[in-house]
Symmetry: C2
């Protein structure tokens, strides 16, 4: 794309060695957001805490007038409104989603795009119609190879004006496990606008780019789909001219609830000396997670965490883990890593690709262990039995001196 | 605070002239998030799109065991569980909230903190018990001057370990308009975790720092509260040693839904030539907004927008506005500004303070107006009747060539 459109939509680039986060990356970060890691405490992520990545704008959408078209190499093209969709038998799956670019902002050099640290995650129960049910209803023609999904979100990206559009191989689209769904509910409620209201694709085990939101069209084709999001973006490549490999399933990752409490600005954690339980979640889109290990000495030694096996078999959702840790005064680097049933695990050194995709570097949580401020450090009137303090200023004194007076 | 705790919690600072957004600012931006501006289309912001600012962690909270204590200079201290709170007569108010630091990241020099652009906003209907009802139930003692509110969120900030804690003058706390509330519902549902579940304070017309979340204690005092968030943070000051003035009510602001569609990375907007309706919202915590003006020539000329007067009198919520605009090919800078009934308006040049508070600089939206790519620029098969295109690559061809074949 040339001219003025090209000028506002330049090619991808890598950040310079000492380049801070740019205004453009910040503009993406203030719109899209991760899941605050303390939310790892919830089995199901509340919608407002689940990560969100929207390439363009959230489209205006009305479930009353929404139509999903199914066509291409099918016997009977269909146009379904929401009532028609709901008339098909439904399925519900608990699915952990992760942005393919999660971890990108920690890479060196940093690919300039949505600047995720490690929070581009979330888990929800999605309810909808299995895709293979819909494809069976329209009758896929012999010789078909892929299914293309088009969202209502429209924009310009790296010089290409487009609707957001992705494909799946026919055998994935019609598979039973994972069961791909056209979903209309998240955690039992209509989809929130930012998660695709009123309809989205859910592809358990795959990174977020496959989960097309605001789904308006499904087209069966007999060739390989060559759309931008398939052949240009979302490829593992080392150089800009490398054709690369497609980004597909989620690599294993474990994350912990950062223990203790944070400093507002540095986000460094503070814990009290003594016994703690570290806890978090672990997942893999390649195979069930079977082992989680914890390190409390900057990845030198590792010990096994206790891993929950979910009672109802949520193969595509994260698993809870916990591990004891006795904190001693000083600074500590805590880490956790997951291994799945196929032996996939997480690296201690970054593996790099030009898009910053599929990163699953082991998490590092820096923690300062220090006893609570003793009364002589502040004002005894400001510390109550629950250990709530406000020191070293005398702030808070007003509150406490008011008690009972 | 000295030593290791002080080292991880340094004083506030200003960014160096060419300093990009720092890793610490990014860590805040990936947790907290703004309201994507296309969400200005909604009268009420869905919870997952409403801005969120959490100083420390979102506390684990259970409504079944939550207790709100009321004490200090009162006749009858009270401890209320959620059922007891719900037994009081309730009120519901539609309130626009804005973070006091909204706009901070565009300031020069930039105060290093949560790096808001302009999205730190949202509007919700909050339901709860008027605070004056609760204060009447416990009986405020003569000579009381302030009411202190304590949240369950605990952290370290600029060297001070604290629970988040703010005060209001007694006359504001007991006022009828705005009616301060202890809220347990947002848009008719329980509060989401990130908005204060199960209880928060709502102070209509005030910036977000007053809206204490995870509210666990209310204490009446007879002195001026000197807590960190009152006397150290959230002050308008020009220098670090300036005592400054308290940040209180929201300055007027208007924002527009950015027209057209965006480029993914630069976020620059593209519109087609021809007639458009610009629209958005405008609000002020000082007085009702009475005028909204639009500029389409980089703030040289201004014309009046049509301003909706809400039918049910939502004095503390934003008002919708719209204005026609005929786009011609080329680049344009669109702006909008609000004026309230007391004559307060928005500056064209930044006014600066060390915390980056109360900013209401006029919004600038850069727009490129260009006709849709003509068929010869790409593949005619990739453009459909709705103007959906994917050009200049041949991507998408696969989809369309599949139609009817």
């Amino acid at each position: 794309m040339d001219g003025r459109m090209g000028a506002i939509s330049p090619p991808g680039r890598l950040a310079e060695p000492a380049e801070g986060i740019s205004p453009e990356e910040l503009a993406l970060a203030t719109r899209n957001h991760g899941m605050p890691l303390e939310s790892l405490r919830y089995d199901l992520t509340p919608p407002g805490l689940h990560y969100v990545l929207v390439h363009y704008d959230i489209p205006a959408a009305d479930a009353h007038t929404w139509a999903l078209t199914l066509g291409g190499r099918v016997r009977t093209p269909l146009t379904l409104d929401m009532a028609a969709l709901r008339s098909f038998p439904s399925a519900t799956h608990r699915v952990t989603m992760e942005c393919a670019g999660n971890g990108r902002a920690r890479l060196t050099p940093r690919p300039v795009s949505q600047p995720w640290l490690v929070e581009g995650i979330g888990t929800a129960e999605w309810t909808g119609v299995p895709l293979r049910t819909l494809l069976a209803a329209c009758g896929v023609a012999p010789g078909s190879v892929e299914v293309v999904f088009t969202g209502a979100d429209h924009g310009l990206e790296r010089g290409v004006e487009q609707d957001y559009r992705r494909s799946l191989p026919l055998e994935v689209a019609t598979g039973r496990d994972p069961e791909v769904m056209v979903a209309y509910a998240m955690n039992g409620a209509p989809l929130p606008p930012q998660h695709g209201y009123p309809l989205r694709l859910v592809v358990p085990g795959w990174y977020g780019m496959a989960q097309v939101k605001w789904l308006r069209d499904i087209t069966v084709i007999d060739t390989e789909f060559t759309g931008f999001q398939q052949q240009v973006a979302y490829r593992y490549r080392q150089a800009a001219d490398d054709p690369g490999e497609a980004v597909t399933r989620i690599a294993p990752r474990a994350l912990m609830v950062p223990p203790g409490f944070p400093d507002f600005m540095s986000r460094t954690r503070v814990v009290r000396p003594g016994p703690h339980f570290l806890e978090g979640r672990a997942w893999s889109g390649l195979a069930p997670v079977v082992r989680v290990e914890v390190s409390t000495d900057a990845s030198r030694g590792w010990y096994d965490a206790e891993l929950d096996v979910p009672p109802h078999g949520h193969d595509w959702a994260w698993r809870h883990w916990q591990a004891p840790w006795t904190a001693t005064p000083g600074t500590h680097v805590l880490s956790v890593r997951a291994t799945d049933a196929e032996g996939n695990s997480q690296p201690l050194e970054q593996s790099w690709n030009r898009g910053g995709f599929g990163n699953n570097l082991v998490q590092r949580v820096e923690v300062l262990c220090e006893a609570a401020a003793s009364p002589e450090d502040g004002d005894p009137g400001t510390a109550d039995a629950a250990g709530h303090t406000e020191s070293p200023t005398r702030s808070g004194t007003g509150t406490r001196s008011g008690h009972g007076s």
